[in-house]
């Protein structure tokens, strides 16, 4: 097993001046819309040199003694992913997650930058509280952490937080994270204020009166199961209000965890008339529906036919030829791991989200990683806290879309890198020489079975427990240092990825 040949001796040498040569990977650089096979030399925390092996007479880097060679043959090399939406829980709820465990989970998922939602206690509604978080991230973080500041004091929706001070402290956006601001006038003031500061307001869109008492999405499944539902209209109505306020104030509005077809249509129309609105969608809202709450009561789905183009590649390894669908019947009925906020929606919503992702209405895929402790999850469905551990399954889950032929691999990588960067107003993540060496290497074809007990995250709640997925992170590099490398033990018994299969995925016609 030599997919990642690392010299351990070199790993133990002092940090900082380590040089790495990532050899023969399939480099996807969404900023430049290129997918090529090549080598990347990393030193001093930045990308030094990229060699495209497709070019004739390309000079292969001659590794000298102090260069650690990472063999990425058959794997994808891409800029590290940015997650716009993760809850780290520290300080305040360390039993759910800590900065150390959450950012390690991020690194295992291929993320090199996390935006920490302000659900921590004390609420980051003051510079002091923000600095505490930043200090924790510096001390314990395995990846870069950006802090989203609270929009209102204590996230209580009554009075504006000192947004100016928060901006000076380095907050990259403002949000009340999961608590929609009920008072439209306050929201309007917040947006006007944030617009002047040039930072986005991240809104979780929900009309609390329409969704009162909700346990899941209102529809056929909630009707069958007798669970109180929240209608899609609860999200759509709130999205409409926030868009109107953004249009009015000129604020950059970012919509968190969009889950409904109606919301996608509103965002598309708003963007068309020039409103500064961006949006994210989670891997689970893109792939799972409310039928997952049925668990074993759900009829087994038909294997889906490839949607777009017929698969050109053959499957040389039968053990890798997975069903292209995920199976909710592995879960018991009413499993609390299917309870997320916003809830898993209908088939039609999932279709609309995918379409929105394809046509650019939705900018980014964000995990919505919301760790909860076992106590909060191992209880009656309607009493269980919403939220799942999402960082470590995000990539493989969205790769099901690529494997089903519904999304291009380069586009997918763009939604995890370039998309979130543009939401944050940053220059797009890239592997160009001179850029910070935040890099992920993943094998899109490697099959694995989700086992939450192996998660780095403290939260083990995932609806994907026991599912076979395809695609796994091999190595994550943050500022030129290895933040995560797949343990070779984990890889035992699996077939080595071959470039031929990867070409099929890259679809380089």
């Amino acid at each position: 097993m030599e997919a990642v040949g690392l010299e351990l001796r070199a790993l133990r040498s002092p940090r900082g001046n380590m040089r790495y040569l990532i050899k023969s990977g399939s480099i996807i650089d969404p900023a430049r819309r290129v997918a090529t096979v090549g080598d990347i030399l990393v030193a001093d925390g930045v990308v030094q040199h990229v060699v495209d092996l497709a070019e004739l007479h390309a000079e292969t880097e001659q590794p000298d003694d102090d260069v650690v060679v990472i063999n990425a043959r058959g794997a994808v090399v891409a800029p590290g992913f940015t997650d716009l939406h993760a809850h780290l829980r520290e300080p305040g709820d360390e039993h759910k997650e800590t900065v150390a465990t959450g950012t390690l989970a991020a690194a295992r998922g291929g993320f090199t930058t996390l935006c920490a939602m302000p659900s921590t206690r004390p609420t980051p509604d003051s510079a002091a509280a923000v600095r505490l978080l930043q200090e924790l991230a510096r001390r314990d973080g395995h990846v870069h952490v950006d802090v989203v500041g609270a929009l209102t004091v204590g996230r209580e929706g009554r009075a504006l937080a000192e947004l100016g001070e928060l901006a000076e402290a380095g907050c990259i956006a403002f949000s009340d994270a999961g608590r929609p601001v009920a008072d439209a006038a306050l929201m309007r003031n917040a947006m006007a204020y944030a617009a002047e500061l040039g930072l986005p307001v991240m809104a979780h869109c929900d009309d609390p009166r329409l969704s009162a008492g909700w346990a899941m999405h209102e529809g056929v499944v909630s009707t069958r199961l007798g669970l109180p539902g929240t209608p899609a209209a609860a999200e759509v109505a709130a999205v409409a209000r926030e868009i109107a306020l953004a249009e009015d104030t000129g604020c950059h509005l970012h919509l968190c965890q969009v889950s409904t077809a109606g919301a996608v249509a509103l965002i598309r129309a708003a963007r068309a008339r020039g409103v500064h609105v961006t949006a994210e969608v989670s891997p689970h809202h893109l792939t799972l529906t409310d039928r997952w709450v049925l668990g074993s009561l759900a009829p087994r789905p038909e294997p889906a036919a490839p949607v777009n183009k017929p698969r050109r590649r053959r499957n040389p390894n039968p053990e890798l030829s997975l069903p292209s669908w995920l199976d909710p019947a592995l879960l018991p009925p009413y499993d609390s791991s299917t309870r997320v906020s916003p809830p898993l929606r209908s088939e039609e919503d999932v279709e609309a989200l995918l379409e929105g992702l394809r046509d650019g209405t939705i900018d980014a895929i964000a995990t919505g990683h919301t760790p909860q402790s076992r106590v909060e999850k191992e209880c009656e469905y309607g009493l269980a806290a919403p939220g799942i551990s999402a960082l470590e399954t995000a990539l493989a889950l969205v790769l099901t879309l690529v494997h089903r032929g519904e999304l291009d691999l380069v586009d997918l990588v763009a939604k995890l890198t370039e998309g979130p960067a543009s939401v944050l107003g940053r220059s797009p993540a890239t592997l160009r020489p001179g850029s910070r060496a935040d890099i992920v290497i993943f094998d899109p074809d490697r099959a694995w079975t989700v086992d939450a007990s192996q998660f780095a995250s403290r939260s083990r709640s995932t609806p994907l427990q026991g599912q076979r997925l395809k695609g796994q992170v091999i190595l994550t590099m943050v500022s030129g240092r290895i933040a995560y490398r797949r343990d070779e033990g984990e890889a035992a018994g699996s077939a080595q990825p071959s470039p031929s299969r990867l070409e099929g995925i890259l679809g380089n016609e």
Partner: protein
């Protein structure tokens, strides 16, 4: 008689075949004979421990299960959430494990949260009987309704049943949908839109079901009218303009009673709000079988306990 495969839990009727329901109803007939004797007890479940685990108060269902278990000679104990470890914050899973450790064989469970019996069943080696969970299911109520219809009309197949009232919040309606459709009855759901939701939400799961918002239209040709309890809080929650309007449009009023004729069975799962969803005249009408439902409940629950005890 086809012998149905072994059954561990009874959480809803969705996983009961028509044959299995038929067999249960036949067993219930024998049980009803037992209950008509002077000595209302057989030794079928001697030495078995049944626990009534009621997180929600329900005197009639609890007593019905208690009498059913005693008639089968089982040991039955009552556990109510009030004043128990639950009030001190014990989780459902811990409580079920504790009952397990205490030697419970069958747990009869009433809970305000839909799906709670599935969670309990995952952590309990014995059998779980659902005695009502949130809006989800109340399988023994549906079984006793089927038993009563069959007893009075001879069969369930082909019978026109109108379920009227607060359907969206009703576990009785949902379990009856499974049971009635599986046994070949024709079901019409009738309620104001706020207490029903879109028709497609129901027909996607129960394609044979008819949805109707006009009670008088729904009543045409009905063999059975099943009125559901309307909680007065529904009006406070804004789902209804007033109880007066509800009664005018959806109540089983003396006028409607008159039009129905004497052959249409009048059913109600109780407890009733007399004068709201059902007029006092309808409760005591000769074609009302509301008390028979209660009586039959004990026999049906005996049959189910007997079936689960194997």
């Amino acid at each position: 008689m086809t012998s149905a495969p072994a059954r561990r839990h009874a959480i809803d009727l969705d996983d009961f075949s028509g044959d299995e329901i038929e067999a249960l109803l036949e067993t219930a007939e024998s049980m009803k004979e037992v209950l008509a004797r002077e000595i209302k007890q057989v030794p079928a479940l001697r030495g078995r421990n049944v626990v009534n685990m009621f997180y929600e108060e329900s005197t009639r269902t609890r007593i019905s299960f208690e009498l059913a278990a005693r008639a089968l000679s089982a040991n039955i104990v009552n556990f109510t959430a009030r004043g128990s470890s639950v009030e001190k914050g014990e989780s459902l899973v811990d409580t079920v494990r504790t009952l397990q450790a205490l030697g419970a064989d069958i747990v009869v469970m009433r809970h305000s949260q839909a799906g709670a019996p599935y969670l309990a069943a995952q952590h309990f080696r014995g059998s779980v009987i659902n005695a009502g969970d949130g809006r989800h299911a109340h399988p023994t109520q549906a079984l006793l309704d089927l038993f009563t219809i069959r007893e009075r009309l001879g069969q369930v197949r082909g019978v026109q049943v109108v379920i009227v009232g607060d359907i969206v919040h009703s576990r009785v309606a949902r379990s009856n949908l499974w049971g009635l459709t599986r046994m070949g009855a024709h079901v019409t759901l009738c309620a104001p839109p706020t207490l029903l939701g879109p028709a497609a939400y129901w027909t996607a799961t129960w394609p044979e079901v008819r949805v109707c918002h006009r009670f008088d239209e729904a009543l045409a040709g009905a063999d059975v009218v099943m009125a559901l309890r309307l909680q007065k809080e529904r009006q406070q929650a804004g789902l209804l303009p007033s109880l007066r309007e509800y009664t005018r449009r959806y109540g089983l009023t003396p006028e409607r009673l008159e039009r129905l004729g004497e052959r249409t069975l009048i059913m109600h799962p109780g407890p009733m709000n007399e004068g709201v969803e059902i007029a006092p005249e309808a409760v005591v009408a000769p074609n009302a079988v509301i008390e028979a439902q209660v009586t039959n409940g004990v026999a049906v629950r005996m049959a189910l306990l007997y079936r689960l005890a194997g």
